[in-house]
Symmetry: C2
Subunit: 206 residues, 2 copies
């Protein structure tokens, strides 16, 4: 019914697949699970366990962490305050793209500053950014220290190390808070799964 | 069988879901379809049509284009040569993450320089980066010009406009080449789908 165009190519019909289309295909809602906490608090372990449990239920997840971000997208960034902020900004933007793709994106970064986390939150619709505070006393984190980072930080070899020589600002109203010194990774992961079921992000099972 | 650790938390078993796990779930191979060509050559239209056809077959796709990249992840970038290069670098890295997630990622950017496209290619395993040359004579692109960009470029309002005042380096060995002035968008999209079937990226249908 539209006016004929000078070029037949202009009238190519363009049908765009939407987030809702992809969500229907995947039987889930795209969202971001943002794990934040001190180094060695268990963010990455917990994120991977949640991804594991969700995968077993047929849900599609993707974990963004230092391994796939710092050596790729953000390899141009160092550890200055500006670069740390840009690091988290980009992670927030990429996580948003994954959520838009219908994927359950899990990010596992210290992300110590409230401002940076809130900016990542602001990119998503209400209910699609789920902050998971991985709470663990610094003494316990230090006793785990699988990569020896606390040891190095205390020896002054890592400047501005969160929990030792740089601040961590805990979330004020995280959607989920787990204490990894008081519960097992399975228990913590189950808490996250229950929340996702309750919010209708994934179907209830059993 | 490993030595007991000082902290019980260190021995948390960490099971990571792999790309292969996700590919099995999605019944497809994660890959990048990199559409390159002059402005108004039909990259975005074709990418969206391919995504549409794949979605109808139950495959998961995600289109990265100016709409979701320039206003988000790359909103800090302008149009200087360095920023254009960084723009394509980041798109390549994000597309790689999507492929790793098991998704068929489709990127629709002019990406005029061979060097930049080859860098994006180098991030992926053999066979997972599929360059689609959207070939169309500049005169035809100019006659389409849905956003009036060629008009502005010719009036000198857009400096370094690809095809007018900046070079476009066509791919030398693209996996797929389509002529959007000689075939319909459906025909071009079908060519891409046939290629994906042949390569085992998606199952054959019918």
């Amino acid at each position: 019914m539209s006016q004929p165009s000078k070029s037949p190519n202009v009238v190519w019909h363009e049908y765009k697949i939407t987030r809702e289309d992809r969500e229907q295909l995947l039987n889930q809602k795209g969202c971001v699970l943002w794990f934040t906490g001190l180094p060695s608090s268990g963010k990455s372990t917990l994120a991977n366990e949640v991804a594991h449990l969700l995968h077993q239920r047929g849900q599609l997840t993707y974990v963004l962490d230092g391994d796939n971000i710092r050596h790729g997208l953000n390899k141009d960034l160092g550890f200055s305050p500006e670069d740390r902020e840009e690091n988290i900004r980009r992670i927030g933007e990429v996580a948003k793209l994954f959520a838009d793709a219908g994927v359950i994106a899990l990010t596992a970064f210290v992300s110590p500053y409230r401002k940076d986390r809130d900016r990542a939150r602001s990119l998503l619709e209400e209910g699609r950014f789920i902050e998971v505070y991985v709470n663990c006393p610094v003494q316990v984190c230090e006793s785990r220290d699988p990569k020896g980072l606390y040891k190095k930080a205390k020896a002054g070899e890592i400047p501005e190390f969160t929990g030792i020589s740089a601040p961590y600002e805990p979330p004020e109203k995280p959607e989920i808070e787990v204490r990894t010194d008081e519960m097992s990774v399975s228990e913590a992961a189950e808490m996250v799964i229950r929340y996702l079921e309750k919010q209708g992000i994934v179907p209830q099972v059993g």
